[in-house]
Symmetry: C2
């Protein structure tokens, strides 16, 4: 059971609490209480073990393929979270005895996870246990744990704690047995290599044991077993004494930027790891935590979004989203993308999808442009794989992988899914082949980043190349329909994945057109040296002609007599059914109880926003009336069975003045992970949804948008919100935006003047100036 | 807690009972309640899951290496034992609620394992659960489970059961993700291949659900997930009703004899598997069990050893040993050996050691000679690997692997063990290199088999070749000591593994001499055609000369002035310490608390019987006085930290007339797995110890022995035993031996007359005749 209102004082609306323990729902809080720093992601499995727990520790970029038949995935590192606490001979488990009180709280402000348990053993001994842990935001290699155990009676405690390499990715073991070594009689080291990609992961762990401030004198016993290296420490604890255990860990990998492309790095990595652990061990939990807390404090000073709402859940939900957005990505690393589950679970194998560019990137583009730049540079660095994919499919240019992992992996969408259990034939996974809109999604995000940041340098070095080469893909990908004398995109999957193999998906065609149009503009405007560079690479003249030719004759679906833009050819011929039972269900995918995939293809039903994403991204192409008509039409037909759906509906509803509907969808988005459904997050949090929550607040209610190279801010708050304050970095100037029911004010903390459009009024904001505009 | 006295009526002294559940000791009964048929071994993990459980399913011969760094091992197949029983929303666990009564019983007579639990849930609902399972002895592919659940209140039950491929060997995953298919809407199939050896394991599973005899009408839902394929069945059970669940499984592998060396067998294996499961499913648990029970009945009719003892534990212990001896080996398969843990655990990786020939084989040689023949044929079939090992080490002939796995694997002892955690250097495992006595152990077992069975055919085809080629190894292995003008074997490990790198280990030298002497006798007596065959292979004349030359000058250690045969050169120079604390300890290996390996080398202490094994195997070479002197000397210095130790001391003590000491050692042997130490068997049962228990009874107290080609039977029962009856197959004639305090009688159930020596009296026993001799 979750509680959202238990943060007090400075932590009011910063605390997510699990207020009762229920071992049926371990996955929920393991995921949503995940801690990390973009380099490390550590799922919040408890110290003691429970059936159906999932212990996950990921390090960004360490991809490995279990065997030739499985696609590469982010491997689960040897676990550091487990600690066996054996009390009077019995391993501590909250299921063996009586829980007197229980509270587990993730503090979003400090990044610390804390659990307090009052417990009575079957022998009627009463214990107070307190567990704290964090993944450092100030030193990305460090994870620390602190445990306190106090008993009202004398007890014998044995602690077993260390590094456990018996974990896997749901049974697929990515690591060879690690090398283990005890250093200075204190530091446990395990160095494990992935089976195929040969990535080295080196973990160091050190423990300290104190009773009421006094170090425990008896030494521990180091235990080596297959894939395990741990210490065993036995302690007699007298009634009323408190045992303090600190476990400090350091994690390094050969995929770290420091060792990238260097040879024979193991000795260096182990040396660096030992230095890290030695220093960290001397500092101890409190000092390490203080450093990390300060790093979080700095982050929040720049990033917090303050909402005054009659329901403080809204404020918490925003912070929850921002917390996860800031731990899911290694901010300075242009070799890694954002995983669909962040670093919080095995779901989607650590792969990156369009989720990044369309749902998550706007947050970074508008608030931490250097992160957006790193993420787009990652896409630039994966261009070779995108070109290989295009080439292998008979196209030109860059066809981005639907699922992307390590730099040179190219397309990593599994080709075959589980077998159809009835026919026995493996089911083809089509997304990697025909869900092609990701190429224009990336181009779109590049342009958006440029518009917001003004980062010409990036465009010269990387951005233009992405936009031009994806346009070249779209030009070669188009099929000419002789009969209708037009180009088409047939046999694709649009955003709505309930519909495979559709022709002229509106989203796909319009976004491809945008991509090609932007490429033509860019080519025309290129300075001579850049033109020469690209000309050498692409034959720009021919490319321009090809693109222009396709663009001129590209079929862009038009609204029917009712003003509805068809999602794809023949959409209106599909039958309609009563979707209300599925729309009302608190669970997703309930339509599968009544219809299978083949049947879904013939029904006007969408898994997620499809046409509406188009109205949102290319908003200037469509009139408000048309948007409204289509919004109603498609909302009726959308089940929101994808976590990428509700935020789009929320933003669009807000655009259309439907603030209360927008608010409902905002809450729906916020509830995907943070809400009361205890089974929603087992495989990890929903990264895109975190970006979506930000979009609901800032794009939707904040009315922030880039249009024709201008920054528009037109806040329109929902009933429950009295005010909304957020920060934006625009053209490298830090702006603070404050909105209330009456209007908006923008303060420029940068040095340079910026131009913004407030409720349609173009205004200059000088350095340290605040401009306010009353809402009409 | 185990009980041994709860078998009633026809099952008196056939039942081993776990009378209370304690989740700290899961490994004990998982191992000792292991079920199997030599083809399959299935550890007795419970249906519901507990922390620290080990689910193991092994199929003989399916060896695989996880990666190039790990030696090959018997892989853990996808699990069939797990069944999630969800009652009113909570997974059933005996730790979540109150156990009202508990009993788990392995019936050694029928091979069935039964668990009965009375249970009260936290909601105060009272349940009676009954679980039965067996691995069929009549159809080696079949495993069946039967579960009954009765509630005193209405309950909602959901059952999740199927095939779970998330298991591994302590983290090393040997299987690629399996192909899953649902056949006829009923049969689950998973076909999994090992990662390197490409062995296919196909498992079929079918379930049936009945309430009080009436089939449950609602269908199940098949669920496919990563490495999992199971069904989910939800049922409303009214108060007083009983739910019956049957789970029938069929297991096949491409290493089965039927598919051996055939190409593209997957379709055939899957077809055969489906036929098996279809037939078995139709028969149902009761009929399948009845067939298996009859097979066990036949086995026991021939194999039971009946002891009248004042402590009926002795009778149970013998049956327990015979039960495991008969499920640890695939009796008709000459491609597989016996694993050190049988098929009951991951310990020793499924490898075969000298345990087979010296400790286990005598049982089969004397009671099921066709099994002994298959096991020795396995050694014959591994000769290429033995020759390769000799060649790689610079020797001639056949140097048998210390650890042996699949036919062409050769030596599979890991070269390197865990790192010394202090120096960080991996510790070399020397046994594979220098524990060389296994070659003569195998030769010895071949000759013993010949003496008992009279199987000339085997000797012509296989036996002679083993003895000659191992003798050739010993001749080439010997080192000439110029100073002493003699051959020596230096730098070896004898049976006592606390002593590495010793010179002239008495056991090694004497057994090598025996091996060479036997080879010379054989070569001299070979018929011309065989002589020619071996001459082509070996150059017999040169071989004979080489062997004879070494044998003549081979140093055989002699007793010192006190009549003590030194275990190896310089043994008497080692220091003596007080070993009594370690000898008194109920745990093994306690000397390591005070001494490390280097220190142990310099102390007169043995892990296990060493010289005494020599006195036992080559008993005719040594006088009774000398044996007695040495017995006392070495018993004082032996810690019995190996499960291969106590039975030798027992037999030797019995030989020397120390019946009560022999009895204590017999009980010690019996207790290794069956006894009250709940941590002794976590990694699996001790195969050699099972053979040792038989040896204590039949060799020791039964006084059975082959000497100079004659079968001696001189029973000498311990105080507590009134009688002992066992069967022997001698020269293909079935003999029944009955002994009591007064003497012995032998009945010949065969057709041919046999000659036996009873208390030194040579007697002929004609067909269907009984000969009795009174003990002097």
């Amino acid at each position: 059971m979750l509680r959202y209102d238990t943060g007090k004082g400075e932590y009011k609306d910063w605390i997510v609490e699990e207020a009762a323990f229920d071992s049926r729902y371990l996955g929920k809080c393991e995921s949503i209480f995940c801690q990390g720093n973009g380099y490390i992601g550590q799922r919040a499995a408890l110290e003691e073990s429970y059936i159906n727990e999932t212990r996950n520790l990921f390090v960004t970029g360490t991809f490995n393929s279990f065997d030739g038949d499985e696609v590469t995935e982010l491997p689960n590192l040897p676990d550091l979270t487990a600690m066996r606490i054996i009390i009077d001979g019995y391993p501590f488990s909250m299921e063996r005895g009586k829980i007197l009180n229980y509270s587990r709280r993730l503090n979003l402000k400090t990044g610390e996870l804390e659990r307090n348990v009052g417990f009575e053993t079957l022998d009627k001994k009463q214990l107070e246990l307190s567990f704290r842990r964090f993944v450092s935001l100030s030193d990305e290699h460090i994870i620390a744990f602190r445990t306190e155990i106090k008993a009202q009676q004398d007890i014998q405690i044995t602690i077993e704690s260390g590094i456990d390499g018996r974990v896997s990715n749901t049974g697929s073991q990515h690591f060879k047995e690690g090398e283990k070594r005890l250093l200075d009689g204190r530091y446990l080291r395990m160095s494990s290599r992935t089976t195929n990609s040969n990535v080295l992961c080196t973990q160091h762990v050190a423990h300290s044991f104190k009773i009421d401030g006094k170090a425990v004198s008896a030494g521990f016993v180091p235990v080596i077993d297959r894939r395990q290296f741990y210490i065993r420490q036995s302690i007699s604890l007298d009634a009323g004494e408190t045992l303090f255990i600190e476990k400090i860990c350091a994690v390094h990998s050969s995929r770290d930027m420091a060792y990238y492309k260097k040879q024979d790095t193991q000795a260096q990595i182990e040396k660096d790891g030992l230095e890290t652990i030695e220093k960290a061990y001397k500092m101890g939990y409190k000092l390490l935590f203080e450093q990390s807390r300060i790093a979080w404090q700095k982050l929040w000073e720049a990033q917090d979004i303050y909402i005054e709402s009659t329901d403080s859940y809204d404020r918490l939900a925003l912070r929850f989203a921002l917390y996860h957005l800031n731990i899911m990505v290694k901010k300075d690393d242009d070799r890694v993308g954002i995983a669909a589950k962040g670093l919080s679970g095995e779901g989607y194998k650590g792969h990156s999808f369009w989720d990044t560019e369309i749902f998550i990137l706007p947050y970074f583009t508008f608030t931490q442009p250097q992160v957006a730049k790193a993420l787009l540079s990652y896409r630039y660095n994966t261009l070779p794989g995108a070109r290989r994919k295009a080439h292998e499919n008979g196209y030109k240019g860059a066809m981005y992988p639907w699922e992307s992992a390590w730099l040179d992996d190219g397309e990593v969408t599994p080709l075959w899914g589980a077998a159809d259990i009835k026919t026995g034939l493996p089911m083809k996974i089509w997304t990697g082949l025909i869900e092609q809109h990701i190429s224009s999604d990336i181009a779109f995000a590049v342009w958006q980043y440029y518009m917001v940041s003004g980062d010409k340098n990036f465009m010269h070095n990387k951005g233009y190349e992405i936009i031009i080469d994806t346009a070249r893909f779209w030009a070669s990908r188009a099929e000419f329909n002789e009969e209708k004398q037009r180009y088409e995109y047939n046999g694709v999957i649009g955003p709505d994945e309930y519909k495979e193999h559709v022709n002229n998906n509106a989203y796909t065609n319009y976004m491809a057109a945008w991509n090609m149009k932007k490429a033509l503009e860019i080519i025309k405007s290129l300075e001579p040296d850049l033109y020469d560079k690209f000309n050498n690479q692409f034959d720009l003249e021919a490319s321009y002609r090809d693109i222009e030719n396709v663009l001129k004759k590209l079929y862009l679906p038009k609204p029917d007599q009712n003003g509805i833009l068809p999602q794809f050819d023949g959409y209106f011929d599909l039958k309609t059914i009563d979707l209300s039972p599925y729309k009302k269900s608190p669970d997703v995918g309930t339509i599968y109880n009544d219809y299978n995939n083949d049947e879904l293809r013939n029904i006007q039903v969408s898994k997620q926003a499809d046409v509406l994403v188009l109205f949102f991204l290319l908003e200037e192409l469509f009139s408000s009336d048309m948007k409204k008509t289509n919004y109603t039409f498609y909302e009726d037909r959308t089940l929101h069975d994808s976590s990428l759906s509700k935020s789009t509906h929320s933003v669009l509803a807000a655009d259309l003045g439907l603030q209360e509907i927008a608010y409902e969808f905002f809450r729906g988005s916020a509830n995907i992970d943070l809400g009361p459904n205890m089974k929603s997050s087992d495989m990890g949090i929903h990264s895109a949804s975190m970006g979506g929550i930000w979009q609901c607040a800032v794009y939707g209610f904040g009315g922030l948008r880039m249009k024709k190279g201008e920054l528009h801010i037109s806040p329109r708050l929902p009933e429950k919100w009295d005010s909304l304050a957020f920060n934006v970095t625009y053209k490298q100037q830090a702006l603070k935006v404050k909105a209330d029911k009456n209007g908006v004010s923008v303060t420029n903390f940068g040095e340079n003047v910026v131009e913004v459009v407030l409720y349609g009024e173009k205004r200059e904001v000088k350095s340290l100036q605040t401009i306010s505009v009353i809402k009409q």
